[in-house]
Subunit: 200 residues, 2 copies
């Protein structure tokens, strides 16, 4: 039985939940509250020395970190990870785009707006986060004007990864109404078999 | 013939150069100076809407972005990308670790120290960048105490990706002497067939 160490409010963890539901794979979910320091305990650091969620335990002590690596590992052999080498490369391109050019702005803006107080000093980061996040959304909008999904004609792990924080971007102050292709794509993702909403 | 759009001083671009040299694949290198705005021209944005280097052009107009996606695409079928699903997952884990928990601190500290002036306002970011970068190096040190390379017993694209900015970490003010396992691993990477130094 697979075990996922995750936090339901985290988009990175939701990616893994959504994929497992769509694959119909049974799993055990262990809720880990990183805000309460539960990813920095000695016990958790023994499982993941980088102290982050999500973490996939495939058997006791055999763990895989990094949400997008977990997506690729679990989706291998399913239509959600392309077999074609060029389409697979496209999926990986968007997975790295998500972690480098999207999540650090859109997820962090959401975190500041939803979980920090109105006087928190980190609110000073919001203008830069929104500028960079808007650039990522514009790149997505341009791509989706040409293709229905990120790695071609069908839904893949690249869509799962980008859906995780894009669907909640309004939490961080982004107005998705100016990205109509992104809004249509969000609906295409929600229409996929086995789709589940994030429980936050 | 493969074309790489890259900037020699960029570690992300050096990854692609190093892999191509080690694979013995012929390629054409087009130097693109992002500091001079050459990644933001209409012509370049038509190739890579995200406006970054490196970019791999496999045939005219058919492009792949994101350094670590390029590594996986080019290394497919070679020993540098494991066939075993668990080892491949480990390689991907470290590729995502590199882009999320390592490069944004170690590469950015290097950029600020090497290319910005002594009075530049961005120097205020250095204490936080060095704290987070040190965390990444400590995670690497711990891993390398147990395994010679990042995805197991042999050299893979994960080592190439992590070498790119780790070998130059001193440029950003990191003292690698406190990470002896990392120093030994850097030497193991330098001893690989086809290794080339970064031309900066």
């Amino acid at each position: 039985m697979l075990t996922v160490y995750g936090m339901k409010s985290s988009g990175n963890c939701y990616k893994v939940q959504l994929l497992l539901e769509q694959l119909g794979r049974p799993y055990r979910w262990v809720e880990v509250d990183s805000a309460a320091g539960q990813t920095r305990t000695a016990g958790y650091l023994a499982l993941n020395p980088n102290g982050k969620v999500p973490l996939l335990e495939v058997e006791p002590g055999r763990c895989l970190a990094e949400s997008n690596a977990i997506l690729c590992y679990l989706a291998e052999g399913s239509p959600l990870l392309p077999q074609d080498s060029w389409l697979r490369a496209q999926a990986l391109q968007w997975l790295f785009f998500e972690q480098y050019s999207h999540e650090p702005y859109i997820a962090v803006a959401r975190f500041i707006c939803r979980w920090l107080g109105p006087d928190d000093a980190r609110r000073a980061e919001l203008p830069r986060l929104r500028e960079r996040g808007a650039q990522a959304l514009a790149v997505m909008e341009q791509h989706l004007a040409r293709q229905p999904f990120f790695a071609g004609e069908t839904y893949t792990v690249a869509d799962i990864a980008l859906f995780a924080y894009t669907h909640a971007a309004a939490d961080g102050g982004f107005d998705l109404a100016v990205y109509p292709q992104v809004l249509h794509w969000l609906e295409r993702v929600r229409a996929q078999p086995g789709f589940v909403v994030q429980q936050t």
